[in-house]
Symmetry: C2
Subunit: 393 residues, 2 copies
């Protein structure tokens, strides 16, 4: 068994980076040590001495002794430059930057192949849940039919509290921001962008199709009204932000849309900051993975596992890529629920069939099928009076 000695150049020393630093110093089995750390901010106070840090990325990129770059910075554009350069210099790369991976996956795969290095990013999707590895290694035959995920801890935390407490979306969001469960600019999370970055990565490994995030529809949770929550409770449902990709013949039907979840769904029990993934495959029963989706430890453990497997020169193989002639479905029918305080505004959205409709003075909704092409983020973001969710099965 080959066991590669890993000299690590670490970019970023936030909570994940610092935790990793500590664990690598403690772990006995790992043949890996951090040689250099590059950070951006010279002024920031840190728990280890300034002599450990450098502020010039080339101190790592040009160091021939460093054979692994671990990239843990926030800025997706800067991260892409670092990762690309590192691979071109023959260094393996581990990252947790979902936006960077999702937006450049095709190019990154080509670069890593051209340079004969490994490129791993388990920490980018669902934190401590080893979902990419399982898709790569375990569900690597053609039997996988669908993947369904709660992949954004911020949304799930907010939705769980909305289900349990008598408070508005704005109140819970504010509270989540104060307690660190939501960013000061929450758009990426609550409008579903983060979830669709993750979904596009999952689709690449689940079905072998590299999909630009822009091609996936994302409707977030921002428009939820109190009456929508009441409706859900009366029916015994919870509302969850679900990322879904399903193989139908030669296409993948994918979306990130809130969904009413009945008690018998795996998603009903995934609450607060937890993430969950449901895999369905022919000749297999439903398989559920549950774990914490974000934060220092969950993300750190995924990064650590990537590093650990690099000792054995592990790499993703994208075995399903270019097989089957699969592609993303551009249009398909979704059964949705759409509500508004104002009945008239429901006319702004065209259902192809209406199965239910309800009207009262202050609240109206319809349930029916819609063509996916009728739903866009642009439309939704300019219609804050509408709340749209996938109807329960």
């Amino acid at each position: 068994m080959i066991k590669e000695n890993l000299n690590i150049g670490l970019f970023g020393f936030g909570c994940v980076g610092e935790g990793l630093y500590q664990v690598l110093n403690e772990s006995k089995l790992l043949n890996a040590s951090i040689k250099k750390i590059v950070v951006k901010n010279k002024e920031k106070e840190r728990n280890i001495g300034a002599e450990n840090f450098s502020y010039n990325k080339y101190d790592i990129l040009n160091d021939p002794d460093i054979n692994l770059v671990v990239e843990l910075i926030d800025d997706a554009d800067a991260a892409f430059e670092i990762v690309k350069k590192a691979m071109e210099k023959g260094k393996h790369v581990v990252t947790a930057n979902k936006k960077m991976v999702a937006n450049h996956l095709e190019e990154l795969i080509e670069i890593k192949k051209a340079n004969g290095v490994s490129f791993l990013y388990e920490g980018a999707v669902c934190g401590s849940i080893p979902i990419i590895r399982n898709l790569e290694e375990y569900y690597n035959n053609d039997c996988l039919t669908s993947i369904n995920a709660i992949s954004n801890g911020t949304c799930n935390y907010i939705l769980t509290r909305l289900d349990l407490e008598k408070a508005s979306f704005a109140e819970i969001l504010k509270d989540a921001q104060l307690s660190g469960f939501a960013e000061s600019d929450p758009t990426l999370d609550i409008d579903g962008f983060d979830s669709k970055f993750k979904l596009s990565i999952l689709i690449a490994h689940a079905f072998g199709v590299v999909v630009a995030p822009d091609e996936i529809i994302n409707l977030g949770i921002r428009h939820i009204k109190e009456k929508d929550l009441t409706y859900a409770k009366e029916k015994g449902y919870k509302i969850k932000l679900i990322s879904q990709a399903r193989k139908i013949d030669n296409t993948i039907e994918a979306y990130v849309i809130p969904q009413f979840i009945a008690k018998d769904s795996y998603a009903f029990d995934i609450n607060f900051e937890f993430n969950g993934v449901l895999i369905e495959a022919a000749f297999s029963d439903k398989q559920v993975f549950k774990g914490k989706g974000a934060g220092a430890f969950p993300t750190g453990s995924a990064v650590l596992s990537d590093i650990s497997s690099l000792q054995f020169l592990y790499d993703y193989e994208y075995k399903k890529r270019h097989q089957d002639g699969l592609q993303l479905a551009t249009d398909f029918l979704i059964k949705i629920f759409v509500s508004s305080a104002n009945e008239k505004s429901l006319n702004d959205i065209t259902l192809s069939t209406v199965e239910e409709s309800y009207t009262s003075k202050n609240y109206a909704y319809k349930v029916g099928l819609i063509n996916k092409s009728q739903l866009t983020y642009e439309f939704y973001s300019t219609h804050p009076e509408l709340f749209i969710a996938v109807a329960a099965d």
Copy 2:
């Protein structure tokens, strides 16, 4: 990427074998086909023609074109002979026989090494949950601290129904037997033997220690009384049969014992025939895997995934073996609950400390610490009046 052509010799054509046969005929990505099927019973009616079957194991074992033996028969001793011989003849082996694997693991690892073949058995533990693969590939560093599993679907099915219905253990067991959720001889399942076969396999992959099943204590669920169920309900607990292994310094504390489970435990939500596994690791949050643990499809999907990965010549590496000087703890303290209809019989068991005790005319219990060496299957099976469970955390 090497892609090995697999010519399969299949032993056994029960529900798993037959399902596998169908899927291999349908799947496009798999480079594998079943060349021969050997079964035992000539008289049994089957869904495919008799010309597909042979009744002589050497038709497979002596066929040089067959490079993979898939072993799916019930008899653990016969299975061992087949598997051993197949590997000695240079054939890879996939099996789902936990008893055979657990009882001969050390020897089987040596045989497979000596013959340069792969030996995979994901289907032997927790059906569709890819737990061995995850332990091998993802939790392959030294950070893993504990593994906790509900790994027997029969027990979990019975315990879930006992929790929901007003019926005795004997009644539910009988019903489970009639509906196919329990064997006519349920000993292996309900007395915890099946769970400890699985636990010993899990320990080998989680901690690198090969443990004979005989070295692990198993107390089953047979002695549960109605009053024990009432006690659990009053406290808001469920009773589950838990397999646990925990690393404490240089030892592994392992056991299979029923346990009172509080609402915040992962195990509380694993019900009926489902299995669940909880992994805990330093620098990682709790990671939960949930899926169906037995039956044609869950087991079949695990077998299929093993076959699929054999195309790429995958094999377990037992990376943690012989590291760390870890060994099974021979004695340690467990906090247990022990009850009886007859107070006096509680004196047959010696607690080292008593934290609670309750007595009434028809029911008495104690809660306290006990040395594991005081608990044996032999003692328990001769004291049906006692019910023993691990106390809730």
